[in-house]
Amino acid sequence: MKAVLATVISLALTTVVIGNAYYQKKQFYPSIVYLTNSNPSMAVMYLQAFILVLLVGKLLRKIFFGQLRPAEFEHLIERSWYAITETCLAFTVFRDDFNPKFIALFTLLLFLKAFHWLAEDRVDYMERSPVIGWIFHVRILTLLMLLAQADTYFIHHAYQFTASKGPSVQLVFGFEYSILIIMIVNILIKYILHAIDSRWEAPWESKAAVLLYTELAINFLKVLLYIGFVAVMVRIYTLPLFAFRPMYETMRSFKKAYNDVVLSRRAIRNMNTLYPDATPVELAAADNECIICREEMHSGAKKLPCNHIFHAACLRLWFQRQQTCPTCRLNVLRAPAPEPAAAPQPAAGVGGAPAAAPAPPAAHPAAHPAPPTGPPQGTTVPPPFPNMPPPPPIMAWGVPPPPPPRPASLAHLTVAELQRLEGTERRNIEARLQLLREIQAMLDASVLLMQQYSSVVNNLPINNASIGTQTDVSEKREGRQVKTEPDVVPTTSTHKQPSPAPSTSNATNEDEVYPDSSTSESNLNSQRDKTDANAEELRRRRLQKFTIEK
């Protein structure tokens, strides 16, 4: 309604102005001269031209896009706003060339840009719209063709103008239209990919990868163009401030595309070569549902180092964004590759090592197994950490500093770089050695403790129960009160009053071992209580958080 009103008013004003000029001068040429010399008349004419441009824009928009979606409209407004600000900045550089033709050219540029943006949004929308009719294809292809022609024409014009008359504002136009034609290429590639994709029934998995590479190449071209443009502008005029925001954005997206390509390639290669396929049992344990697509997993599922299972295809797509586990955010590039069943314990040892480091090795019962319940097996050393809980996946895995990405060849590095490389390598190795030493100490300590246990348990079959944990003792006390277990009472009493003279050779052994192991027992118990309390607290909080979230 407002638009119609504005159109009518401007039309009326223009009629009045032209009518007035013609009425005063009575002839064609004098009227024109009169109009161009009168500022108010020219203002009205500019306004009329502006409204005409808008009307033409609306008409073309109707032809090529039909009704705009609200998101598209918002996007258009936002980008126009930036473009207008930047155009105003550009005016300050080229104040000398300021004339109506100049303004007209800039308006035309903005006008064409707007159609490029709309075409881009519309092609992006292809992915989301369920049905695409033939009219969509006709519209988009025609529009892209027309825009490409306009772009090439203006690039050509700018080139010829600059070649014949030296640098001018045409440099900016040439550059802007080059960026636009790159955009057209990008849109066209996307359009072709989406069009192929929509023809296929099955999801096309490598499409995302192709899009990623396209993005990388297009952004690379744009970055080159921007750098060239800024260099030329600095040499001839001044710093082109108006190009900085788009340049910065292009560089950022180029960097992102580059990282995405490199890191995702690495993560996908890891997935294909290192991570095992999920077994049917594991699939069943995960309810057969892939948390990424919420669909059933039958085959082609992969297990990450953190034991989370997803479709390999879904993971591949996700790794193109981020190289983490979607569920627990384990960084798969930093996580050690899972060795299939060959050496799970050393891995657990590395996970536990940092916790062990501050405590003196001998007094470190956390890694110690619970008192053996079955018959002791002589001097056989049980595996070092049988009841070690698997380390929480986010923590601890990152502890050994990840090796820096190694360049393919060392030949092209400078001496300083090599030295730096050597330094980091050396630090890494030292850190690893330190960790290994700690693990060694822990292993020694636990072996020692195990030997003490087994010897005590071997030599004192009667006192077996008395070396129980404190909870055992309290249970036994209860047992004595209730007087249900006659067996236990005597042993408890022997525990309370250690036999005065057990003259066997075992006695010395017992005396030596007993206090030590009992202290370590109580130590273990208190520690376990503490960790239990911590775990309980943690679980409670998590539950609370979960119920809040839920």
């Binding site: 992915e127 989301r128 096309w204 697509c293 669909e295 879904c314 569920t327 839920k550």
Partner: protein, 168 residues
Amino acid sequence: MAGSALRRLMAEYKQLTLNPPEGILAGPINEENFFEWEALITGPEGTCFEGGIFPAKLIFPPDYPLSPPKMQFICEMFHPNIYADGRVCISILHAPGDDPMGYESSAERWSPVQSVEKILLSVVSMLAEPNDESGANVDAAKMWREDREQFNKIAERLVRRTLGLPPP
């Protein structure tokens, strides 16, 4: 790719219709376009937004759930974590890496594990407990910290407005 996003959105819609979480209603505005949803969020009980019914829209990217949707309230809101134009700024709606506020840990960020339901529940808890470090609406954050009474008054006015009642 488009197909999988569509299928997942349909699955979530079905899930939300079968087991709607309390105080939340959400679904596509138009069944022909599953990538634009409307949601109605009830203000959490015991907070200044209690009783209000706040409409919002969710726009999903074509690569959902790899990228998060955008969420925007379409009624007037006054809240530390909601921009003046209604856009919601909470960590679950940002992928790790893009960091408008710079303080959130990656643990609460977007990942395909999240869902529409989780987003809306996070928004409900955000209404209950604003994060006044986030600068989405600086005035609201300041008022929330320093003049809670005035904040509650504004919230009450907004609640009444969403219910179509005249201001008190």
